[in-house]
Amino acid sequence: MYSKRLTRQLKKSFGDVAPRDEAFASFLSMIDEAYQQLDEKLESAQRNLTVSSEELTSANSKLYQLNQSFDAMINSLGQGFLLFGEDLTCLNVASKACENLLECDPAGRRIQDVLHISGDEGEDFTNWCKMMFDERIAFEDMAALGPARFAHSDLNRNVVLEYKPCRDRSGKITAIVMVATDKTAEFVARKEAAELAAHVKMITNILKNKNRFRQFIAEMRRMSAELGTIANGRKFSSQNLDEAKRLLHTMKGVAGAFGLLKVKMDCHEAETILTEARTPDIQLRVLRDWGEKIKSEFESLIESNRELIGDLGNGESKREIESSVLNGFLNSILSASTPQEIALAYRVQILSVPLRKLLFEFDSYISEMASHLGKRVSPLKFAGDDPRVLEEEVRPLVSAFPHILSNMVDHGIESEETRLARGKAAAGSIEVKFEQNPEHLKIIISDDGKGIDVPTLRMKLEASGEHRLASEGSDAEVMEQIFRPGISTAKNVSEFSGRGVGMDSVRSEIRKLGGNISVKSEPGKGTSFYIELPTLGLPSSARSAA
């Protein structure tokens, strides 16, 4: 068809020039063919163009959907996500949760303003950001130096901040993602669950051993009163302060052993605040306020559980006595020749209890504490003699006992993994051995844990100015220092131990009985505490005879 148009054109210009010339005709058809091919190519090119633009539209809508679902996803996570670039300004992408968690829409704002960082800290913060971008130091190490928490206007909110790098293809950081996570609910839920579990445990503990609980109440009241005497005394010395810390620590231990979580936490809190208080005025005020708080917390706990635990609050001891024991006592009375003999029989047969029984009550305490720390401990083992004691007389020993145990579980016994790696049994073991002779009662409490960390202890001594002891003292001398106030090998203060008050108050309680305590330890093998007590109210011959 192109050739016809061309022929017409030629005719117009040149007249009828050899239209039947075959060569010319074949030339024209070649042109036709070429044009046709061109047409087809054009058509196919156009078709391709149409298809790809359709594809483009569909891809666009897919991208849009993807963006939408991405937005929906990050918005539903409840976490605050924001991106900031090297100019330290937030980009226009941030999740909805930022408004709630960071209390603003970060888009377009300076990251420094979003985090309320100003003044001197502003410069540090800017430097920190710059160093994250230039990566002179590994990103994670640098990120660890940044703000870890958002200063929310609601002080109960716990908003945690994390940082991740956003890189281009060459690996260079182009932006930093900041993730804000609200851990408040997690924190509160964990606290509530722990409180409920503790309450159940407390009631079980009390019901299991009403008698011991009665004594516990008496003991708490005694210590609470002592605390009050110090807080309201005319003179306040550093000895008073140490004594107050010891009392709080002992109260924390016994409250913990009975599962009185709130009282325990209050004691812990009071200890912390007291340690941080710098002047005697503040220390006294802390003692007064917290002493009252702990006392009323404790009393209201007793009061609110009265129907469950019965009228235990009067602190008077009640005992169940088997008829065989009563018969034995009756026989002793009948065969006695002096009133002293009757009195002795009464003390030995009716009043005394096996010391093993008193101490075994802490078994559930250590297994619970161990599981809290991700460790395992076998049930408490006893060996040697089976001494009987008058409960009232050994109270200081009984209140010191949970501290020794918690020290062993916290610092001595290793995690299951470590123990297995060292060829030990998965569960740690604690043994209490009694040795009686006419003058003394020896109690040896041993664990099979990692032993006392003497090098760390030396470092602590060095840090507290004891240079001679730190560098020249024998291992045994250094170990004895765990009984000093303020020394602990624990890396962190936990609710169980670590403030360096524990073993100090243990020694002070043992000394109240006229006894003493010492320690021996072998690295990797374990630690033993040696307690030596003088003869108490019961003549030694009568102790294990009953």
Partner: protein, 138 residues
Amino acid sequence: MITKDSRILLVDDLNLVRNMLRQALREMGFEKMDDASDGEIAIAKLNSAINEDKAFDLVFLDWNMPVKTGIEVVEFCRENEFFRNLPIIMVTAEAEKKNVLKALTLGANDYIVKPVSQDILDAKLKHLNEQLAKRKAG
């Protein structure tokens, strides 16, 4: 470039920390180490090493020391033509991280949190070598 042949200066007022570092580094194959118990002694040792042609290649530096603090040592080094590029790794306790930022801003190369482990030391030295290579290339 830090190699097993490099000379390392350990600066800390606690003998025990120095020993811990020394032991860890020795187990990693480093032999040439010296130490200093405060910032002033550290600077004196850095200077005399240069005069004896035994310049240090790396410094582990504590933050909190008597006489001269770690920060002062970093400042001294970065203002001195001989030590401008001397690699310095701050040794810090977990609670002192805020101070680390100051030292890094002033030009310390990296930081390490006590107690140190060989793994972390290894990672830090690797990163340091990468940075030194980059600096040389750039």
